[in-house]
Symmetry: C2
Subunit: 319 residues, 2 copies
């Protein structure tokens, strides 16, 4: 077909999803197809200014690569963690990267000469899951990312709500266990301190040490806890049940306040599949009284959701 | 002035706020001025069909009265408790009146020959406080009604969010005290079971009976508990502190999820004034970590909020 090369050209969005450890980057076509993907270390230990330099370099490199391949970069979308002022395009605060009021949108737009949109990593992930993934065609969705931390995005009619200060959806920092384990935020009993992947690994490691000293320095991951629980190990089963119960409490609270149709669960913990979803659905059902039980589904886009969502946000901002 | 009578004419909305015990009813001018107000018992013990008849009779009577006074009824707005499908105009479910899928909007529109809007009592109250009351000119507001029960309305840009099934904002039914007092909804530890006016009165009555038997059948109200706590009575102080602490936990959870600028506290408990707001502000401040602390203010419209909000909803639906 003679028109194949022309077909492979066309517009793309330069999309970056900045995490505490790595950056997922892509060239995304308007229909959501990924034309090219690459990853870079964030290098957060170098400080926020160096991270910003890397973001700008990587974005510029992607735009150049697009042009070299006959594609036309039309916009740039960036997702970052922490507090994000979408409207002003400012990364207001981030614990793991150290952003403090970084005008990342305007810096990127100036460097690339492209219209740029900045959003919150979980909110853009929610956007992607709602438009292209597991929440497609659903008007009221809560996207919940359960990994090192826990955060959510309430997506209504295809738009994620940011709140008054870019801090909406912090499901990890709602109280579920008064007097419980201390959270990274400083308060005891937050959902994230009980049900995040890191909390599950930490809790099991602590209790296992008390029971039988493991090899010096042995640290267990949530994935190992899930494996051991499935194999019938009592301690792992207990830690897993406690985490799932607390997560169900958190989701029940979210349902009481948001009243969604579907909850899309993503992040590392969702990889546990039926070992998470079966007991979580049962525990949530127990907690629902007069509310309607939301459909609980696994995220469909994996760790590409952030990049795809950043691209969608950029496309939205062109309209 | 010869034009005074004409000035006192003009358009009005027939507005009804249906509660479990009483109906607050009014003729409301488009600018929010109440031209006439009246109250009727709901008579919920007669069953939902009889309540619907009363609503239609009262609404028709108000429209007739308006015309007799030279006013022009242009619409009707009704606020009801429970689950409300605003879009369909259906009172889906109510525990205290017994509504089950009552198409109240269309019934009223047919009887009155007026465009009619149906909304949730707390959501329309939040609408009124945000447009005419304590949340005026604030884009992100949470209106929290603390009375016999506890419910909230999240009002963004002057519109209250209803959720997928008309059940958003059920702040009274989020878990704050695992294993705590059983709630009317059937679950233990809901905010409403600890911090509502009825829970406060009930808890103090129970504990007072254990300490010193009061006169047979004596039942204390939340207002009496607040009085006694202010007078330095230890038991009342403890019950009041526990209720305020749990309410602060609930508001902190709401702030983590909604991220609002202002929380407007209404309902009977707000009448405690500084005795509520001083300790509640302090307790909420303790619980806020990386989030922005919301402004905590008392509702300004008192128990007229529901009627005014029903009128606003009706006016919105005309547009």
């Amino acid at each position: 077909m003679t028109d194949a090369p022309a077909e492979r050209g066309g517009p793309v969005v330069v999309a970056l999803d900045i995490g505490g450890t790595g950056m997922k980057c892509a060239l995304v076509r308007p229909d959501g197809e990924v034309a090219h993907a690459e990853r870079h270390p964030t290098g957060a230990e170098r400080g926020p200014a160096a991270v910003v330099d890397t973001i700008l370099d990587v974005a510029e490199g992607l735009a150049g690569r697009a042009r070299a391949e006959g594609l036309t970069p039309i916009a740039c979308g960036i997702g970052v963690p922490g507090l994000v002022d979408d409207a002003a395009g400012v990364a207001v605060w981030s614990s793991n990267i150290g952003f403090r009021h970084v005008p990342l949108r305007d810096l990127t737009a100036a460097r690339l000469g492209l219209p740029t949109a900045l959003g919150h990593d979980v909110r853009v992930g929610g956007l992607a899951e709602t438009r292209l993934g597991a929440g497609r065609d659903v008007a009221h969705v809560l996207f919940v990312a359960v990994g090192t931390g826990i955060a959510a995005a309430h997506v209504v009619g295809g738009s994620a709500t940011a709140g008054a200060h870019g801090a909406a959806g912090e499901l990890g920092h709602i109280l579920v266990r008064p007097g419980g384990p201390r959270c990274g935020c400083g308060r005891p009993g937050c959902l994230e301190a009980v049900s995040s992947a890191s909390a599950i690994g930490r809790r099991y490691t602590e209790l296992a040490r008390m029971a039988v000293p493991p090899p010096a320095g042995a640290v267990f991951t949530a994935a190992e806890v899930v494996e051991r629980a499935a194999a019938g190990e009592e301690l792992a089963g207990r830690v897993w049940r406690e985490a799932v119960d607390a997560l169900a409490d958190g989701l029940a609270t979210a349902q009481a306040l948001f009243d969604v149709e579907t909850m899309v669960i993503g992040g590392g913990l969702a990889r546990a599949g039926a070992r998470l979803f079966d007991p979580l659905r049962a525990a949530l059902r127990e907690r629902i009284t007069f509310h309607r039980e939301p459909r609980l589904v696994a995220a469909a886009l994996g760790d590409e959701a952030g990049c795809l969502g950043a691209a969608l946000l950029a496309l939205d901002s062109l309209e």
